[in-house]
């Protein structure tokens, strides 16, 4: 694995990770995201539907959470999780936890961490964690870590302990890693802990960077537990300590606005659980991220994206005439945790809205179906709703990352931010 940085713009690292996978044939552009899965399947999707998406990330994320319970089966299978799950040719990154389903706190000891599968809690020692990695056979994996420092007001003592434990886990895992022929080609990603305490974050970063790791996982920065300003400062402090030539993956952050801030703080890679969460609440990503290629033409060119959370960003009168909202008919309550980057397709106002989810979007859902149909599938609880929304939301999210890279290439990060954050 090699990270080729082409430029750094206002802290944002633009580049490409090359030589990925068993034969080194894959590459991944940064800033970028991984493909999110549960039990090694992109939620709701079969391989047929998944591959209607263009330019899938070359790295797929799996999580110990949803796979630990299948340890014995995988051990008997012997050929790794990629083949077990019938996955396409993809690089596999294995994280400790599923970012979309946070674990209940209070189950970490000096020697163990716990993960939660469909059958309940599974306690892992470093030995068992590594035995699982040898049967999963990922290309990259996050080392066992104590990431339980996200609750606010976690004591300094607890935070220090988390850093110490995580470093101890890393040393033990690395020892086992180097003895394992199955993991010979795999890269270990060291987890950086430290909660919201700057000195501990810096200590964790410095110590982890001394170890022979392939990359870094920035853990314990979950969106729901930390203010973006604090997160940005901490991440900037952490990345300042890390070697430039190794990738930094941030866990638990997925909102577009937070992603941009974290890229500015020096993060390279993100998970893509956010489109899944949007899908699960029956919503569709619809925020704008297209900036016109020519700055001279900015303002005269119409946006590709018609609507952002029900608000029309520009006067696209012709197309919108058909969708006049009936006052009072719109659902008063939005789904819990809904962000301003999405639209609630269960809302009655979409009942007769025959436009694609996002105008100009080329995903399978937008090319073949419309808002009214997805609304119908949602109100009738049909399974196809999850399929179509997952396709659209994933496509939109990948498009956002691609546009972000494009903005860095063309030195137009400010225009891009303005567009996304409007």
């Amino acid at each position: 694995m090699k990270l080729e940085l082409s430029r750094i713009v206002q802290g944002c690292r633009l580049g490409v990770l090359t030589g990925l996978g068993k034969t080194g044939q894959h590459s991944l552009e940064i800033p970028g995201c991984l493909l999110y899965t549960r039990c090694a399947t992109v939620p709701h999707l079969t391989q047929d539907t998944l591959h209607t998406l263009n330019s899938l990330p070359s790295v797929t994320q799996i999580a110990v959470d949803t796979l630990a319970e299948h340890h014995e089966v995988l051990a008997e299978f012997k050929e790794g999780v990629r083949k077990f799950a019938g996955l396409h040719d993809t690089v596999l990154y294995c994280s400790l936890h599923d970012p979309a389903t946070p674990c209940p706190p209070g189950h970490i000891t000096n020697k163990t961490v716990s993960v939660w599968g469909s059958g309940g809690r599974i306690e892992l020692t470093a030995q068992r964690f590594m035995a699982l990695q040898t049967v999963l056979r990922p290309d990259w994996y996050q080392c066992m870590a104590d990431g339980e420092t996200w609750p606010t007001n976690t004591s300094r003592k607890r935070v220090r302990k988390a850093v110490d434990r995580t470093l101890a886990h890393l040393d033990e895992c690395l020892l086992l890693h180097h003895k394992s022929p199955e993991l010979k080609e795999a890269e270990v990603f060291g987890a950086i802990e430290g909660g919201d305490i700057l000195e501990e974050r810096v200590r964790s970063a410095r110590e982890t960077a001394k170890r022979p790791v392939g990359g870094f996982v920035l853990d314990g920065f979950r969106s729901d537990a930390m203010d973006q300003e604090v997160r940005g400062q901490l991440i900037a402090a952490v990345t300042a300590e890390l070697p430039a030539e190794k990738p930094r993956l941030l866990q638990g952050v997925g909102r577009p606005d937070e992603v941009i801030s974290c890229v500015e703080a020096g993060v390279d890679l993100f998970e893509s659980f956010f489109p899944y969460q949007v899908t699960e609440r029956g919503c569709a990503l619809c925020f704008s991220f297209t900036i016109s290629p020519d700055p001279e033409a900015a303002g005269t060119r119409r946006s590709k994206v018609l609507e952002s959370n029900g608000e029309k960003p520009d006067a696209d009168a012709d197309a919108d005439a058909a969708a006049i909202e009936v006052p009072g008919e719109s659902g008063a309550t939005s789904p819990e945790n809904m962000t301003r980057f999405e639209m609630d397709l269960k809302d009655k106002k979409y009942r007769e809205d025959f436009r694609p989810l996002v105008d100009g979007c080329t995903c399978y859902c937008c090319k073949n179906h419309n808002r009214a149909y997805v609304h119908h599938l949602l109100v009738t609880n049909e399974l196809l709703a999850g399929v179509l929304l997952m396709l659209h939301n994933t496509a939109h999210y990948l498009g956002f990352f691609s546009a972000l890279r494009g903005a860095l290439v063309s030195d137009r990060l400010q225009d891009f931010k303005k567009r996304v954050l409007q």
Partner: protein, 400 residues
């Protein structure tokens, strides 16, 4: 009568008999419908609410499905015929390029809605969504189906449970004939939408015969055999089926409603039926039951936790080509995609079975196909269901 004939002579349907089994009543036909030609015998998967249970229309097309069902009752309630009409009917609403068949809505009212009452006018019931009282008349059923724009519409019939006996059966049969005439008269699109009659008469051979005599006088484009598959004895079931096909015109398609188990399909093809539908293959898939030539596999059962084979090693579907029983077993605990995988497999199983049946009829080896099919499904001769043995014998197919 002459006007009815004139209407039907332009019916958007043509049946070409490709081959007939020289032994049994089985036949292979090409049924030309507005959106494409359907090769029969055919199994039609059911997409109740304008979607095939988590499968995209492209996947359904790739499976080789030429016709599927939508339910008038459900679609009439949500999203409603007015909305669907605005997007060029159900085809446009769900973006399905091939044929659609819609039922009349009557069956769901009787089976799903507790408070329903049948009169000469129609079926009166209370909407489960808003509690409003609704009257579904033959005219309204056809009006909704005209809005849906299906290639084949079904007449509204007076459905009684197949286990009911007595005068109610005769009343329902006679009313269904009167309602057929009202449906024919109500069809606004006879040039693009075919209306099928539904033979009723319960399990009473005389009533069935009377219904057949009356309905075959109407020049409708096709006939369905209704009022069966409702929990009656299989002995009664197959006798009513074979009686119906004996009296239905050879040149028109015969649709046996609500039949989808593999054995029933094979036997009823032998009895002369062309078209079938059933929710079973897709519903059972969502409970983790995968159909195979020797029965079914309950994928969620522990025995499949370490079974690294595909569901059916001989199956060519997308699921079997990529996934093992063990992975599907694991995935069932986590994600709905597991259901989609089995739904795809089960639809593939049904459609492949019917294609094999058709091929054997064309190649004049249908009786041998039936024997092989039964041997694979039931390893022991004693396991053959007596009704199936008897039904097949009635059309000269003897099992070894």
């Amino acid at each position: 009568m002459s006007t009815k004939k004139a209407v039907c002579s332009v019916a958007p349907l043509a049946l070409r008999i490709v081959a007939e089994c020289p032994v049994s009543k089985a036949r292979a036909c090409d049924l030309r419908l507005p959106h494409c030609t359907v090769n029969t015998p055919v199994f039609m998967p059911v997409g109740t609410q304008g979607t095939m249970k988590g499968i995209t229309v492209d996947q359904l097309e790739d499976l080789g499905c030429q016709i599927c069902l939508g339910n008038t009752y459900h679609l009439g309630m949500r999203p409603g015929p007015e909305l669907i009409e605005k997007v060029n009917g159900l085809h446009g609403f769900m973006n399905w390029k091939r044929n659609l068949l819609t039922d009349s809505g009557g069956f769901q009212m009787v089976s799903l809605v507790e408070l329903s009452e049948v009169s000469e006018e129609g079926v009166r019931f209370r909407s489960p969504y808003d509690g409003k009282e609704i009257l579904l008349t033959p005219e309204q059923s056809i009006a909704i189906q005209n809005s849906l724009g299906s290639d084949i519409m079904m007449q509204l019939d007076d459905v009684v449970s197949s286990t009911v006996t007595g005068p109610r059966v005769e009343e329902a049969m006679k009313r269904s004939i009167r309602w057929l005439d009202r449906c024919i008269a109500a069809n606004k699109n006879p040039d693009r939408q075919n209306l099928f009659a539904i033979i009723q008469g319960g399990l009473n051979a005389e009533l069935r015969k009377a219904c057949l005599d009356e309905m075959t006088k109407r020049d409708v484009p096709g006939f369905a055999i209704g009022g069966l598959s409702g929990g009656e004895e299989k002995d009664d079931f197959w006798k009513m089926v074979t009686l119906s096909t004996d009296h239905l015109p050879r040149e028109k398609p015969r649709y046996l409603m609500g039949v989808g188990y593999a054995v029933d399909l094979v036997v009823c093809v032998a009895l002369g039926c062309d078209m079938f539908d059933c929710v079973f293959p897709t519903r059972t898939a969502r409970f983790g039951s995968a159909l195979v030539p020797w029965g079914s596999l309950q994928i969620k059962q522990k025995q499949f936790a370490k079974d690294f084979q595909p569901i059916d090693p001989d199956c060519q579907c997308a699921t079997c080509r990529r996934h093992s029983r063990t992975y599907l077993h694991a995935l069932f605990k986590t994600d709905t995609a597991a259901m989609h995988h089995i739904t795809i497999h089960n639809i593939a199983y049904q459609l492949t079975l019917m294609r094999s049946v058709r091929q054997s009829i064309i190649e004049q080896r249908f009786p041998e196909f039936v024997r092989q099919f039964m041997r694979r499904m039931f390893p022991l001769r004693e396991q053959y269901p007596a009704w199936a043995v008897e039904a097949l014998a009635s059309v000269n197919i003897t099992l070894d």
